[in-house]
C-alpha cells in the first residue's frame, strides 16, 4: 500500500495562494467574511501563512503553504472520541462528517491548526462541484456536495481524485494529483508515495535538507518542506 505524501519546495513557491483558491474550488470549501476572518472562523483546507523575522532593512518573510500534514501519528485521530477522523491504510487522515459529533477536541489537539469547524450553514453556490462520489461505499467521508454546520473538516489530500485515479489505473503523482498540486503555477508542490524510493516525493525529499513542521511533536507529518 502506498503512503501518500507531499513535498512543498519553498524556494519555488511564489506565495501566490493558487493552492488556497484551487482547494476551495475543488472541495467546495465555504468562503468567509470580514468578521469570520478576524475571529478566525473561516475554513481553509489549505492556507498560506506569512512568518516574519528581522527588522528593517534586514527583513525576512517566508510564506508557508499549509495543508493538513497527514501525520503518521495524528494527534487528532488519537483524541477523536467518535472515530470520525481516522487514518486510512494509505496514510491519508480523513474526517468522516457523518460520524463527527463536533466536539472540537481534534481542533484543540492539532498542532498545525489545519482543522476547521463549520460555524455556519454553507451558502449554496452555482459553481459548487455536484459530483456524486464515485462509489456508494465511500459516501461517508465524501465531502461533497454540501456540508452541515457543526462538524469539523480538513484537507483530504483530494483522496477522491486519488481513489478515482487508482481505479482508472492512472499514475498518482504525475497524472493524478491533489488540486493544490495541480494548480501550483511554480510547480512547487509534489505528490506521491513516500514508501516508494523511486517516487517524485522521495526524490525531492532527498534533494535538499527537507524538514517537516514541528518535528519535535513526534507527529511525523507526511508533508515535507524544502527550504529556500
Amino acid at each position: 500500500m502506498a503512503r501518500w505524501g507531499m513535498v512543498i519546495d519553498l524556494d519555488k513557491c511564489t506565495g501566490c495562494q493558487a493552492c488556497t483558491v484551487a482547494c476551495k474550488e475543488e472541495n467546495n470549501v465555504p468562503y468567509g467574511s470580514p468578521r469570520e476572518n478576524r475571529q478566525r472562523t473561516e475554513i481553509y483546507w489549505n492556507k498560506v501563512i506569512a512568518v516574519s523575522r528581522g527588522e528593517y532593512p534586514s527583513v525576512n518573510i517566508e510564506m508557508i503553504p499549509m495543508p493538513c500534514m497527514h501525520c503518521d501519528n495524528p494527534p487528532c485521530v488519537q483524541v477523536c472520541p467518535a472515530k470520525a477522523t481516522f487514518i486510512r491504510e494509505d496514510g491519508i487522515v480523513v474526517q468522516n462528517f457523518r460520524r463527527c459529533i463536533g466536539c472540537k477536541y481534534c481542533i484543540v489537539a492539532c498542532p498545525y491548526g489545519v482543522r476547521n469547524f463549520n460555524y455556519k450553514e454553507q451558502a449554496e453556490e452555482k459553481y459548487h462541484r455536484p459530483d456524486p462520489p464515485p462509489d456508494r461505499s465511500v459516501i461517508g467521508p465524501w465531502p461533497f456536495p454540501t456540508r452541515t454546520h457543526g462538524v469539523v473538516e480538513k484537507c483530504t489530500f483530494c483522496f477522491h481524485r486519488i481513489d478515482a485515479g487508482l481505479k482508472e489505473n492512472k499514475t498518482i503523482g504525475t497524472e493524478v494529483v491533489p488540486a493544490c498540486v495541480e494548480s501550483c503555477p511554480a510547480k512547487a508542490r509534489f505528490f506521491g508515495d513516500l514508501d516508494d524510493p523511486e517516487s517524485i516525493v522521495s526524490q525531492q525529499v532527498a534533494t535538499r535538507g527537507s524538514f517537516t513542521l514541528k518535528e519535535g511533536k513526534g507527529t511525523h507529518p507526511k508533508v515535507h518542506y524544502l527550504p529556500k
Binding site: 506565495g15 474550488e25 467574511s33 456524486p132 501550483c184
Partner: protein
C-alpha cells in the same frame, strides 16, 4: 495504537450510520429534550432539509455518473489573459484549470483564474439594461435604476449617437475602456475611428506608459519588455513585483519555479523596492531604496560596469550609438559613493550588485511600476533598460526579447466619411503627443481634467467599456466630478462599479466567461500565442457580449459607421471567427482554445531597432525628433540621455513628511471589481489578513509617532485624507507608507463595498510628461492618530 477501521469495511457500522443521519433520531431527541417554541423552529428546519435532498436527488443521475465537459477558453482577470479549460457539470461551470496547450504559462494559471467562477456567478451582476431615473449624478447618490429592454436601450443610445454625429460633433464622443479582450479593444477602436472620434482612452496611462517610453527611447519600440526568464541567470528588479502584479503574471510564476530549481544553476534575484514586496520576500536580496531614485541607481550601476570595463564590448560597438555621450554622463557624476547618498543604498552594495549583474550573464534589468510611475519615469525606464544593453542582454537567450503577436486577418479599411475624417483629426482629449505629452500613447488621467475644464472642447457623450477610473485613477474624486459633468454616459460592464453609478444607461455586458473573443498576452513569452474566448455556459441573465453591443450600435447608426462593421463577422462570434481565420481552423480553435507560435528566434538585431540609427541608442534620436516635433527642443542633449533628476514630490516635506506608495497585491482582481470572496479573504498574504487593506508604516517611524499596530489613523495628503488602519511593518522604507490597491469600493457588491481604503483617493495628480504616465508614487502624506 491507532484505530483505523473505517466504515467501508464494517457493515454493522454503516447501517448504523444511516440511522444516525435520518430524520427519526434527531426528531426524537428533540421532542424529548425541549419546549415547544424553540422546538418548533428547529423541527420545522429539520423537517425541511430532507425534502430538499429528496427533490434534488431525483433529478440527478445515479452515483458515479457525471455528465461533464471541458470548454477551452481564457481568463480576463488580468491582462495576462491565460488560456484556461473550464469544467462544466450539469451546465454549470465548476472548475477552471490551466490549458496544457498554452506555452506562455506552460498550462499553469495564477489564483485569479479560478476566481473566474465567482466572476461568472457574481450575485451582484447586472441582470438587464438599466436606465437612470434620478437626474442628479454623484458619488453615493442613488441613480434610481429602472430596467429596460435591450431594444429600448440600444435604440436610445444609438439615436443619441446618431444625433451627435449628425451635428458634426463626432469628436465629442468619448470612449473609455478598462480591461477588455483584444478583440473588443479592436472593435472599440474601430468604432471610434468609424464614428470619428480621436477619444478612445484606455487605462494604460495608469499602468505602463513610462515603462514603454523608456524602451522607445532606447530602441524605438513603444512597448513593455519581454524577458527571457527561462534562460536568465540574474534578475535585477527595479520596483517590479514580478510574482505579484507584473504581467504576464502566470508566466512569471511558472518561470520563477523554473529558474529557481528546475535548472542546473539557480538564478539570483535582487529586488530594489522601498517596499518589501512578495517578490522581494521570495528573492535572494531586498534593497530598500529611497523612493524615486531608481534612475540614479541604474546610472551608478552603469558607472561601475563601464569604469571596470565589464560591459559587452562587441554589442556596444556593433549595435549601439551614443555610447560615448552616455559613458561621459555616467562616469562624470554617478559614482556609487555619490549615488549612495541619493538612493540610500551603500556604495559597497552598488559595486557588488553591478559586478554580479555584469558577470552573471545572461542578466536582466527589469523596470517595474515602482521605478517608472514617477515624473521623469521615462528616463528611469530608459536608464534601467540601458543596463540590459550594457551587458549585451538584448535579444539573447536570458535577456530582453521582442514580443511577437498573432497575425490576425486584416480587417478591411473603415468606410470613411467627412465627419469621421474631421472628427479624428481633432485634438485628443488626453492631449497626447504634440499637445502636451510628447511621446504619449494615452494619458488616461488627463481625460478627467480635460472634461472638467472643457479643454480642448466639451464632451457630450461617453461610453465606458469595463472601465473603472473612479477607483483606479489618482485623485479619483476628479473622475466623480468629471463623470457627473458628462451629459450622457453609457456604461458597458457586467457589474455596477463606482463608474457605472454615473451612467445614464447601463448595458450589462457578458463576463469573459460568456464572451467571444481572441486574446494574446502582453510582452513576456517572446513567441506569440492566440487565446480564444468562448461562452462556457449559457448566461442566465439578459446580457450581451460587448462585441455584439458594438456591432448592434454600429448597425443602428447606419451610414458609414454601419458599413465599417459589415463583412467582419456581423457579431462577436463572427468577428472572432473572421479575425482568427488566418491562424487556425475554427472548429479546431474552439476545441483547443490556444494557438502558440513557433519558438522564439534570438539575435534579430537587424530588424529590432526602430530608431533613426537602426541601432540601440544610448542617446535617443527618437526623443530628439519628438521634442522637435512638439517644438520643445531646447538644444539640451541631456533630455535625450538616460539621466536622473531629483524627483518632484507633491506636497511640502515639512508638512507632509512621508511618501505614499501603492501596489497591486496578487489578489487585486484587475477588472475594476473586487466582489469575489475567494480573492477578498486572502487579500493580504504578507500580512496574514483578508478582507481589508491598511496603511503600512515602518516600525521605527510608527514608533516615533506613537502609532501602534492596528489602530486607526488619518492619512492626509495635499489632496484629501482617508481614515485607515495602521499596519506597523518592518518591510517598508522609513519614509514611505504603502497602501494596497483594490479595496475601498463604494459600489460593486456585497463582498467589496465598504471594505478597506483606496489609495487613489489621496494620491495627487502628476505625470511623466514624456509618456503621459500618471505619477503614482510622488504624493507626500502625513499620518496622525484618528
Amino acid at each position: 495504537m491507532l484505530p483505523d477501521n473505517n466504515s467501508e469495511n464494517s457493515p454493522a457500522q454503516s447501517s448504523e450510520e444511516k440511522q444516525s443521519d435520518g430524520l427519526v433520531i434527531s426528531r426524537r431527541t428533540f421532542l424529548n429534550a425541549s419546549a415547544f417554541a424553540a422546538a418548533t423552529i428547529t423541527a420545522s428546519y429539520l423537517l425541511k432539509k430532507p425534502e430538499i435532498a429528496l427533490a434534488s436527488s431525483a433529478d440527478e443521475p445515479p452515483y458515479g455518473v457525471v455528465t461533464d465537459k471541458w470548454v477551452a477558453t481564457s481568463c480576463l482577470n488580468c491582462p495576462t489573459r491565460c488560456a484556461t479549460r473550464v469544467r462544466i457539470v450539469y451546465d454549470k461551470a465548476v472548475h477552471i484549470g490551466g490549458n496544457p496547450l498554452s506555452r506562455v504559462s506552460e498550462g499553469e494559471n495564477c489564483p485569479r483564474s479560478h476566481i473566474g467562477l465567482q466572476v461568472l456567478y457574481n450575485p451582484d451582476r447586472i441582470k438587464s439594461p438599466l436606465k437612470r431615473t434620478n437626474p442628479q449624478k454623484g458619488k453615493g447618490i442613488d441613480p434610481g435604476w429602472t430596467a429596460l429592454s435591450w431594444e429600448q436601450a440600444l435604440n436610445e443610445v444609438s439615436n443619441r449617437l446618431k444625433a451627435l454625429r449628425d451635428r458634426n460633433q463626432a469628436h465629442k464622443l468619448l470612449l473609455l475602456y478598462g480591461l477588455n479582450t483584444i478583440s473588443n479593444e479592436d472593435l472599440i477602436n474601430r468604432f471610434a475611428a468609424a464614428y470619428g472620434t480621436p477619444n478612445a482612452i484606455s487605462r494604460e496611462g495608469l499602468e505602463n506608459e513610462a515603462d514603454k517610453a523608456g524602451q522607445w527611447m532606447a530602441d524605438g519600440n513603444y512597448t513593455t519588455s519581454a524577458y527571457d526568464l527561462e534562460h536568465t541567470n540574474y534578475i535585477l528588479s527595479f520596483g517590479a513585483s514580478i510574482i505579484e502584479s507584473q504581467k504576464p503574471l502566470a508566466r512569471n510564476l511558472r518561470m520563477w519555479g523554473k529558474l529557481r530549481r528546475e535548472r542546473p544553476n539557480r538564478a539570483k534575484i535582487v529586488v530594489i523596492d522601498p517596499r518589501y514586496s512578495v517578490t522581494a520576500a521570495k528573492a535572494d536580496q531586498w534593497l530598500p531604496i529611497n523612493p524615486g531614485t531608481d534612475a540614479a541607481l541604474a546610472l551608478a550601476i552603469a558607472h561601475v560596469i563601464i569604469s571596470e570595463e565589464l560591459y559587452d564590448k562587441s554589442f556596444i560597438q556593433n549595435w549601439t550609438t551614443g555610447f560615448a555621450e552616455y559613458r561621459k554622463l555616467v562616469l562624470g557624476s554617478h559614482s556609487p559613493e555619490k549615488i549612495a547618498l541619493v538612493t540610500g543604498i551603500k556604495a559597497d552594495t552598488i559595486y557588488r550588485i553591478a559586478r554580479e549583474f555584469a558577470q552573471t550573464r545572461p542578466a536582466i534589468a527589469w523596470r517595474g511600476r515602482g521605478a517608472t510611475c514617477w515624473p521623469n519615469g521615462s528616463y528611469a525606464s530608459y536608464a534601467i533598460f540601458c543596463l540590459n544593453a550594457l551587458v549585451g542582454s538584448i535579444d539573447v537567450p536570458g535577456g530582453v526579447i521582442y514580443q511577437e503577436y498573432p497575425k490576425y486577418k486584416e480587417m478591411p479599411a473603415i468606410t470613411d466619411d467627412s465627419i469621421a475624417r474631421e472628427g479624428r483629426t481633432q485634438t485628443s482629449l488626453d492631449l497626447r503627443r504634440k499637445d502636451k505629452f510628447i511621446a504619449a500613447g494615452v494619458v488616461t488621467n488627463q481625460a478627467a481634467d480635460s472634461i472638467l475644464t472643457d479643454n480642448p472642447y466639451p464632451i457630450d457623450m461617453a461610453i465606458g467599456f469595463h472601465s473603472n477610473f473612479n477607483m483606479s485613477a489618482p485623485n479619483a474624486s476628479r473622475w466623480d466630478k468629471a463623470m457627473a459633468k458628462i451629459p450622457y454616459y453609457i456604461h458597458v460592464a457586467p457589474a455596477i462599479t463606482e463608474m457605472a453609478e454615473f451612467a445614464d444607461i447601463v448595458l450589462p455586458a457578458s463576463t469573459f466567461m460568456e464572451d467571444w473573443g481572441y486574446d494574446h498576452c502582453p510582452p513576456g513569452s517572446g513567441f506569440y500565442e492566440l487565446k480564444l474566448k468562448q461562452p462556457v455556459v449559457k448566461s442566465v441573465h439578459n446580457i450581451k457580449p460587448t462585441g455584439d453591443i458594438i456591432f448592434d450600435l454600429a448597425k443602428r447608426m447606419g451610414g458609414s459607421v454601419a458599413q465599417s462593421f459589415e463583412n467582419i463577422g456581423n457579431n462577436a462570434e463572427g468577428f472572432v471567427k473572421y479575425r482568427t481565420s488566418t491562424i487556425m481552423y475554427w472548429d479546431n480553435l474552439l476545441q483547443k482554445g490556444v494557438w502558440a507560435g513557433t519558438n522564439y528566434k534570438y539575435y534579430k538585431y537587424y530588424q529590432l531597432f526602430n530608431t533613426p540609427s537602426k541601432k540601440f541608442e544610448f542617446y535617443s534620436g527618437n526623443m530628439e525628433a519628438a521634442l522637435k516635433e512638439a517644438g520643445k527642443w531646447t538644444g539640451d542633449r541631456t533630455a535625450c540621455l538616460p539621466h536622473y533628476e531629483d524627483t518632484k514630490f507633491l506636497g511640502d516635506k515639512t508638512a507632509y513628511p512621508l511618501i505614499l506608495t501603492s501596489y497591486h497585491p496578487l489578489l487585486d482582481v484587475d477588472d475594476g471589481n473586487q466582489n469575489y470572496p475567494w480573492a477578498q479573504e486572502i487579500f493580504m498574504v504578507m500580512h496574514g489578513y483578508g478582507w481589508t487593506n491598511f496603511v503600512e508604516i515602518n516600525a521605527k517611524t510608527a514608533g516615533s509617532m506613537g502609532i501602534k499596530d492596528g489602530v486607526m489613523v488619518w492619512v492626509e495628503s495635499p489632496v484629501s485624507k482617508i481614515k485607515a488602519r495602521a499596519r506597523v511593518f518592518q518591510g517598508i522604507h522609513p519614509q514611505v507608507v504603502a497602501i494596497a490597491q483594490g479595496q475601498g469600493h463604494t459600489s460593486c457588491g456585497r463582498w467589496a463595498k465598504g471594505i478597506g481604503i483606496n489609495p487613489n483617493d489621496i494620491t495627487g495628480v502628476d505625470y511623466d510628461y514624456i509618456s503621459g504616465q500618471s505619477a503614482l508614487f510622488n504624493t507626500r502624506v502625513k499620518i496622525y492618530k484618528a
